[in-house]
């Protein structure tokens, strides 16, 4: 029989205002095994924890139940306290009487009754708890960064600078990501390439960093400290070791009609291409869907002109298998498709563009060589309209419910740059709210209005209609003036919502990292663990976790690096002791458990057992405690009940059921 102490927390008034804690203490004292119960205003405080230590000592407690907030909050705290008191940490159970009781119920009598029942269930469980010992597993001192944008580059640099090997996997032919597509950056207006390129070069030159471009993650197995990852190096059709990056192949390539992804499809590129001039590595790839050689078998111009002999049409995808201790996801974002927003005429008019397209138009290396012009007729615009929140903050199913966060600032940037370079162009920004929290951000927006004369109108645009004269009729409203506005514009720029890069869902599935309904990766705690995934050993960097601007992305990238370094610096990890455990005497050897184990943690071996004096060799299940993550799938599959889960045993759960239904 256990000797159980029950500690009921008031959590200030969070619990005590709705739950009669004294009554809970009084009631649980009559539960089997309970030999001590008390309440305290803050159990998680040092003084509260001391109460546990004292009681364990005085009453010789063997088990502890804390009735408090969610175990997700303080289970670790109380387990440590138990350990300090000399108990096994797994002799602690939490009754969640805050999130699951006091915060959702109003009537004190009812909430108190429920709190007692929850406590009773925890007590019933502790009665069956057994001390568990955490095992150890090794840490591979190498990190994988998925995504080679600014987030991935910064994370890789920080990890590498700490002395650990890092691999970057980037799916496009070059690292650089979205930031390489930007012209200028807010709030300082410095050139994006000027600050990004040195970082790209630094990453490429770093002796601890290894970059796989034009590559994707194919498969991930293992667990924190010991992941095994298959990386697919897609066939580039160009030998990176031989290529000198001279660019002649691209000049001579006769297939020049492919949409240039880097320029958002606003112009075309050759079939053999490097996405942009500063690409790293400066090695082109052949787009096999566009290449004449691959389509018809005839051509081979690039091979002929390449003096280095680097063209290799027979190159195949290559799978590289590597072990990692930590994985950082930095997959970034894309703008949403605007097919659902007919009212903005994006698909009808070439002169309605997204902000990212405007970045390319404004950029000297872009489709118009940096001249602001209409894509329909090449004319310089006189009236420009910017529309904010296109697809952001939409609770209908056409767009995204969240604020994309970066649009207010980059629109101010665009407006300012245009007014600066082309003072004769009128710029009108239709906004719902202008959101500029950030250092020097509001000042930046105000400068656009006050110094550059950008016309900000509060009110969303209802419709953009192409006119026969080639202009665009923008129908908006000025809510402050209570007027409807009809404006003929030459160009309309849509601040299009951003969304996580589409491939992230697949990556999250491989990593068993959770993802929210918007495809953003979920952090382990929204406030206190913002750069960690709930899946141990997986960290989040950049927009894959939520909308962010560059400074925030870089800050988060550094934070993710530090978390990864903290993991890599360890030689051994303690493993979750709540793993599956087979009873060899009950095991039939039927293999059903091994069939459902997602980790391959169950193997079978012929083993001599002593079944009440009968010695025989049997086929029995063995669980690798380092691989087992404790899901319990095997326990239910096992027909004989030989497989049980430590910490969540059949008897423990049944005891809880009984306590609740009593």
């Amino acid at each position: 029989m256990q000797r159980i102490g029950v500690f009921v927390c008031h959590c200030g008034s969070n619990i005590a205002a709705t739950v009669d804690v004294k009554k809970v203490v009084e009631t649980v004292l009559s539960e089997p095994g309970v030999c001590h119960a008390e309440d305290y205003p803050y159990m998680c405080s040092e003084a509260g924890q001391m109460k546990i230590l004292e009681a364990v000592k005085e009453k010789k407690l063997t088990g502890i139940v804390v009735c408090s907030c969610s175990p997700r909050m303080h289970e670790a705290t109380f387990r440590k306290a138990a350990e300090r008191a000399g108990l096994n940490p797994y002799m602690v159970e939490i009754a969640n009487i805050r999130e699951h009781c006091s915060w959702i119920h109003k009537d004190m009598e009812e909430a108190t009754k429920k709190a007692v029942i929850l406590a009773r269930a925890a007590i019933a469980k502790v009665n069956l708890n057994t001390p568990l010992q955490a095992g150890e597993s090794r840490v591979t001192k190498r990190a994988l960064v998925i995504g080679g944008g600014i987030a991935g580059i910064q994370t890789a640099l920080d990890i590498a600078d700490a002395g650990y090997e890092v691999d970057i996997v980037e799916k496009t032919p070059s690292i650089g990501g979205r930031m390489s597509q930007l012209d200028k950056t807010f709030p300082t207006l410095d050139c994006s390439a000027c600050i990004l390129t040195p970082k790209m070069v630094e990453a490429a030159a770093h002796e601890k960093i290894n970059i796989y471009t034009y590559s994707e993650v194919d498969k991930v197995t293992g667990f924190v400290g010991d992941f095994t990852v298959d990386i697919r190096k897609k066939a580039r059709s160009v030998d990176s070791a031989k290529c000198t990056g001279c660019g002649v192949c691209q000049e001579k390539c006769p297939s020049k009609k492919s949409l240039n992804e880097f320029n958002r499809g606003l112009n075309t590129r050759s079939a053999i291409y490097t996405p942009f001039a500063q690409a790293i590595p400066n090695v082109p790839v052949i787009d096999r869907d566009a290449c004449i050689k691959f389509k018809t078998g005839k051509c081979g111009v690039c091979e002929k002109v390449c003096q280095a002999g680097a063209i290799d049409y027979n190159q195949k995808d290559e799978i590289i298998t590597e072990k990692y201790g930590a994985i950082v996801v930095a997959t970034g974002f894309d703008t949403i498709k605007l097919d659902n927003y007919d009212e903005y005429a994006y698909n009808q008019s070439k002169d309605v563009i997204t902000s990212l397209e405007l970045e390319r138009i404004m950029n000297a290396a872009g489709p118009t060589k940096g001249h602001l012009e209409r894509l329909s007729d090449g004319k310089a615009p006189k009236e420009m309209v910017f529309i904010q929140c296109v697809g952001s903050r939409c609770s209908d199913n056409r767009g995204k419910s969240y604020c994309s966060k970066i649009c207010c600032m980059y629109t101010a940037k665009h407006a300012m740059l245009i007014r600066d370079k082309y003072p004769d162009v009128n710029v009108t920004v239709f906004y719902i709210d202008v959101r500029t929290p950030g250092k020097n951000f509001d000042e930046f927006y105000r400068r656009a209005v006050e110094e550059y004369g950008v016309n900000y109108v509060k009110g969303q645009v209802g419709k953009v209609a192409p006119l026969p004269n080639g202009k665009l009729l923008v129908q908006g409203s000025d809510l402050l003036d209570n007027k409807q506005i009809l404006k003929e514009a030459d160009m309309v720029v849509l601040a299009t919502a951003i969304e996580p890069e589409a491939s992230v869902r697949q990556i999250a599935t491989m990593l068993t990292a959770s993802i929210d309904t918007n495809n953003f990766l979920t952090e382990a705690h929204p406030k206190l663990r913002p750069v960690e995934s709930p899946t141990a050993g997986v960290f989040l960097s950049g927009v894959c976790q939520g909308p962010k601007d560059i400074p925030e992305t870089v800050a988060q990238a550094g934070a993710a690096a530090v978390k990864a370094i903290g993991l890599l610096a360890k030689d051994k990890l303690t493993t979750n002791p709540c793993t599956a455990k087979p009873d060899e005497l009950l095991c039939n050897g039927c293999s059903q458990c091994a069939n459902v184990c997602p980790y391959g943690a169950i193997t079978y071996e012929e083993k001599e057992v002593n079944d009440h004096g009968i010695r025989e060799t049997r086929r029995v299940a063995q669980v690798n405690g380092a691989l087992c993550q404790g899901c319990g799938a095997c326990t239910v599959t096992c027909p004989s009940g030989a497989m049980d889960l430590q910490g969540f045993s059949n008897r423990q759960i049944i005891a809880e059921v009984d306590a609740i239904c009593r």
Binding site: L118, Q629, V657
Partner: protein, 146 residues
Amino acid sequence: MPLTENEFRPKIVAFCCNWCSYAGADLAGSSRLSYPADVKIIKVPCSCRVNPMFILRAFEKGADGVILCGCHPGDCHYSTGNYYARRRMTLLFSMLDYLGIEKGRTRVEWVSAAEGVKFSQTMNEFVEKIKSLGENVRLGDLRCKN
């Protein structure tokens, strides 16, 4: 809701997976989204840990309804646990229905850590449903008691 006499208050057991649904229930709590106190949550590591025996046990001990909440299919922390749970529960619920235990007394709902609202709504609906079905007398014993 204060307790009033004679009102039928069902016993409801909710199994919640640790990673999504238990966190969803926590979020419902921290967002103060109320649902009836009749619901008592048991934490399990994954929906696939829930043995049909646990559900039968709950009914035998007098539960009027049992609900299992797990991560959305595709989002299981353990990759595949909820897919197995889905098959097991589909078959179990169908069997219980076959034995005369109304389908409304058993339910599976996928609730993510971000879906506090869904958690609370689900529980409100489920309790309403159980109240409309009344006390479960059938699984106490499938045989004649006398």
